[in-house]
């Protein structure tokens, strides 16, 4: 499958805008990507190993958070995985100036995150 790398992450992937990987699941595909480009890891994952809340993953046109198997979803060689950091803001002063500050988006991400329900 092909993983599309967004503008901000290309400096950590040797300037590449896409990465081809043989993988059976989304988790395997991301592992292949970060093994080839280890500097990407901290941009995609938290210290605990979860996908950062502001990182959106789309398998073709489907939000991975809402797939039944989430990151364990099976993939084929013709699938594409898009990495899309969220884009939001506004003149409302409601959020604290703090990297990784909680936001409505983060809350939504946590509620409907990438981990399968236990």
């Amino acid at each position: 499958m092909i993983i599309y790398i967004p503008t901000p992450l290309r400096p950590y992937a040797d300037g590449r805008d896409e990465f081809e990987v043989d993988a059976a699941t989304i988790t395997e595909a991301l592992a292949g990507l970060t093994q080839a480009h280890p500097d990407l890891r901290k941009h995609l994952f938290t210290a605990e190993g979860g996908v950062r809340a502001f990182v959106n993953l789309y398998l073709n046109d489907a939000d991975v958070r809402y797939l039944p198997e989430k990151l364990a979803s099976k993939v084929s060689s013709t699938d594409t995985l898009s990495i899309i950091p969220s884009i939001a803001g506004g003149c409302s002063p409601g959020l604290a100036v703090q990297a990784g500050a909680a936001s409505p988006h983060d809350i939504e991400a946590n509620e409907h995150g990438y981990q399968n329900e236990k």
């Binding site: 967004p6 884009i87 939001a88 803001g89 506004g90 003149c91 409601g94 604290a96 703090q98």
Partner: protein, 154 residues
């Protein structure tokens, strides 16, 4: 200081977008190519604001719309250079919300103040820093067409 180059037509289009959606915030993406000085914008793409609950002071672009915008950029041989949005009756300065929600490191965030329905000051801020934890906004020059102008502080 980095520099955002943008064609006159695209510059006017993003300001007009803010006037059209007033008193709500508009938003969209900027497609372009990187240069040694900063991004050179070649196209501005309008996006929908999904924050209909608070559209007067918040914006959000649906990720699936971004997937499609990036797909189109790729087809054109361009990259996502940054994003734009408007601040209705609010200065063209980044807010704490803008900062907290900014995650496209190395990209430009263009903000237009729309005062009483008319586009006023437009500023651009580069999201600098190597990581999410080190990120910061740095104001940059906006060069419209070939003529370079310093962005105005409001």
């Amino acid at each position: 200081m980095s520099r955002l180059q943008i064609p006159q037509a695209e510059y006017e289009a993003i300001r007009a977008h803010g006037e059209e959606t007033y008193p709500h915030e508009c938003c969209g993406a900027l497609l372009g190519r990187p240069t040694a000085e900063g991004w050179k914008v070649e196209a501005a793409v309008r996006a929908g604001n999904t924050r209909t609950d608070s559209a007067h002071n918040r914006y959000n672009i649906a990720p699936v719309e971004l997937v499609k915008i990036e797909r189109e950029a790729r087809r054109l041989g361009l990259g996502i250079a940054g994003f734009y949005h408007s601040h209705p009756d609010h200065p063209a300065q980044w807010s704490t919300t803008d900062f907290a929600e900014a995650h496209w490191l190395g990209c430009s965030y263009v903000i237009t103040e729309v005062a009483h329905g008319r586009a006023a000051v437009t500023n651009s801020f580069l999201l600098a820093g190597a990581t999410e934890e080190e990120k910061r906004f740095e104001q940059e020059t906006i060069a419209v067409d070939e003529e370079s102008i310093d962005t105005e502080l409001s």
